[in-house]
């Protein structure tokens, strides 16, 4: 018995150095192993210089996300997953998610590179995949992938203002097996990873918007005058001495002016109501009428001496924006109702019109349009020029008319 104990003691004596050496090495390896193996779960290296730029940070907004990163590993093919989590960007951690805290993605999402898709089940889906990335990854060369370039319901921001995270994993293969990455909504909050993807975390945030509302009052000023706004034009059309029209001479009076300005974004319209020149004793109705000087009508015409004519044109020379005279008051000749238009006798070629139709002309309730714009009008002053000619059959008398102009803005 004593010999046996002595034998065991000697054996233990021989084994002790080996046991302690083994324990020493094992302990040392246990201490250093984390340093030699960067990341658990077989994940290899970290993607660098990584970011996601959102097209909008508004909660619940449909957005474009632009992912940029620098691969750590070169591969001829590539695929990746972008998993959005609410709690942290660490690949090995659990992933919490809800529509309020992470983006909601869906099948049909587009990407600028490769073939996009989504992973996971349940609600919300919060993991984007891209496979068949042409050319794979090149270590040190940044790559940018735009998701949902035309923002749609396939990529929607979290519904609350919150900080959240993207976990980006990049595999060297062109395809991605379902088992390569199982997101939290399928795995039960702990994503599982197979293979050795490079990885990286990104923090993002939705935020409130700043809304400022201001009002600009609508303005419209319109004035028809002879010398200054407030002096109603009272014009004589005819010989400066006798005041009479002539069968041998045309007369023009351009002493009526107008000023118009508006900030109406939809523009403004000036309508005119009234009759053609008319003498007492009868009606001033449209058409052939013994008591009127015949209106030129809805087609602008040049002066014709010896022919009964009453017409008008509107000068908009120098007006900015879209202000213009409308037919038949728009002189489309070279004169533009401006050149050679002066009060007195007239022998020029400017075009005049006067639509006194009771249906859609000056004798109608709405009147006939004289000026119009499709946008705002900076303050502009122009003239209205009137033309008078008579025929030998024109009845003698004192002819007059009162024309009313109404400007309306479209705001």
């Amino acid at each position: 018995m004593i010999r046996r104990i002595e034998s065991l003691r000697l054996a233990l004596h021989r084994l002790l150095p080996g046991l302690f050496l083994a324990a020493f090495i094992a302990t040392l390896l246990a201490q250093l192993l984390p340093s030699l193996t960067p990341i658990a779960n077989g994940i290899s290296a970290q993607l660098t210089v990584r970011s996601i730029t959102m097209s909008t940070s508004a909660a619940s907004a449909q957005a474009e996300y632009s992912l940029t990163f620098t691969p750590a590993t070169t591969s001829v093919a590539g695929s990746l997953a972008v998993d959005f989590c609410a709690n942290d960007p660490l690949i090995s951690d659990t992933c919490t998610f809800s529509a309020a805290t992470v983006p909601t993605v869906s099948s049909g999402i587009t990407s600028s590179v490769g073939t996009p898709g989504v992973l996971g089940s349940g609600s919300p889906i919060h993991t984007i995949t891209v496979t068949t990335i042409a050319g794979g990854f090149t270590s040190g060369t940044p790559i940018t992938i735009n998701f949902d370039a035309t923002p749609s319901a396939h990529l929607t921001n979290p519904t609350t203002n919150v900080s959240f995270y993207a976990r980006v994993l990049a595999w060297p293969g062109a395809t991605l097996a379902t088992s390569d990455y199982t997101p939290a909504n399928t795995s039960g909050n702990t994503p599982t990873v197979t293979g050795t993807p490079d990885f990286g975390g990104i923090a993002l945030s939705t935020a409130a918007n700043i809304t400022i509302t201001a009002t600009v009052y609508e303005t419209l000023s319109f004035c028809v005058f002879q010398t200054a706004c407030g002096t109603a034009p009272n014009l004589t059309l005819g010989n400066s001495t006798t005041g009479a029209l002539s069968t041998s001479t045309a007369y023009v009076n351009s002493n009526a002016q107008y000023t118009i300005a508006t900030n109406a974004g939809g523009g403004a319209s000036v309508m005119m109501t009234g009759t053609t020149l008319c003498r007492p004793g009868g009606t001033c109705a449209t058409g052939v009428n013994a008591f009127t000087i015949h209106a030129i009508g809805n087609t602008a015409l040049a002066s014709s001496v010896g022919t009964e004519q009453f017409g008008m044109c509107a000068d908009t020379t120098g007006a900015t924006g879209t202000l213009a005279a409308t037919a038949p008051y728009k002189d489309t000749s070279v004169n533009n109702c401006h050149t050679g238009i002066a009060t007195g006798t007239y022998a020029g070629s400017a075009l005049f019109g006067f639509n006194d139709s009771a249906v859609n002309g000056t004798n109608s309730a709405a009147g006939d349009q004289v000026l119009a714009s499709t946008g705002v009008i900076a303050s502009y002053t122009g003239t209205f020029a009137f033309l008078g000619n008579i025929a030998s059959t024109t009845a003698a008398g004192i002819y007059s008319t009162s024309l009313n102009m109404v400007a309306t803005g479209t705001f």
Binding site: P17, T56, A203, S205, I210, T215, V216, N263
Partner: protein, 244 residues
């Protein structure tokens, strides 16, 4: 060496080894050339001490904490530094009605936001919205830094303290101090009394991980006599992007 001596030697060796603190690694942030991992040195704490139900980070006897930074390098010192990158972006969402604009004077307004970016290589804040709009009419935005001019249609902003057209606004405030926070106002928006607005432009940024910087946006509104009448709405959407 007797067996007792060998036993003593071995026990002492194991004890020494066990006293060497374990190195805990969690890869965090990297640049093109360098990668920095969160490393725990010392024996006064642990990064991730967990029981069945709870985990904690522990620290005792710290001798140096803070955020040392040079032109090219930056570090977070202390046992309780967080290992997660982080972006905190808070826009103090306001819904302000500034009333009726006038050709005779400038209307101003302010809004604030703050950014904190942790373990990043910096961040940028971009304003992505179109200028104030009234149906299809868009108010004229200043495309370069310009002084306010009443009677001329202008919309612009800056992020500094101004004295013209009135005293309003404020420059960025580093919180808790310039030692920890480094956000700056971008060119074009950083000159007092000059305003601009370019959709898609960067208005603030930091070129390093930064504590909280509080920014104040100063807006100006001027109209002319042809500024389209109606109600204008400006829905300023700011987007913060951090690079890790």
């Amino acid at each position: 060496m007797s067996w007792k001596q060998k036993v003593n030697f071995g026990v002492v060796g194991l004890v020494v080894l066990l006293l060497i603190p374990a190195t805990v690694l969690a890869a965090q942030s990297a640049s093109t050339d360098y990668q920095v991992n969160e490393v725990f040195f010392g024996s006064g704490g642990a990064l991730n001490n967990c029981s069945t139900s709870y985990c904690s980070k522990q620290a005792i006897g710290e001798t140096a904490v803070g955020n040392p930074k040079s032109t090219n390098y930056q570090a977070r010192a202390g046992f309780n530094t967080d290992r997660s990158p982080y972006l905190q972006f808070i826009v103090n969402g306001t819904n302000t009605n500034i009333g009726v604009l006038s050709t005779g004077g400038t209307t101003t307004s302010t809004a604030t936001f703050s950014v904190k970016s942790y373990l990043s290589s910096g961040y940028s804040v971009v304003t992505v919205s179109n200028p104030p709009k009234n149906n299809t009419y868009v108010m004229h935005a200043l495309s370069s830094p310009t002084a306010s001019s009443a009677g001329t249609e202008q919309f612009g902003m800056n992020l500094v303290a101004n004295t013209s057209p009135t005293t309003f606004g404020a420059g960025p405030v580093q919180n808790p101090s310039g030692t920890f926070s480094f956000g700056t106002v971008s060119s074009g928006y950083n000159t007092a009394n000059l305003y601009q607005y370019i959709p898609g432009s960067t208005i603030a940024s930091s070129n390093s991980s930064s504590g909280e910087t509080d920014y104040t946006i100063s807006y100006i509104f001027n109209i002319s006599n042809i500024t389209a009448g109606g109600s204008y709405t400006f829905n300023d959407v700011l987007v913060a992007t951090a690079t890790f």
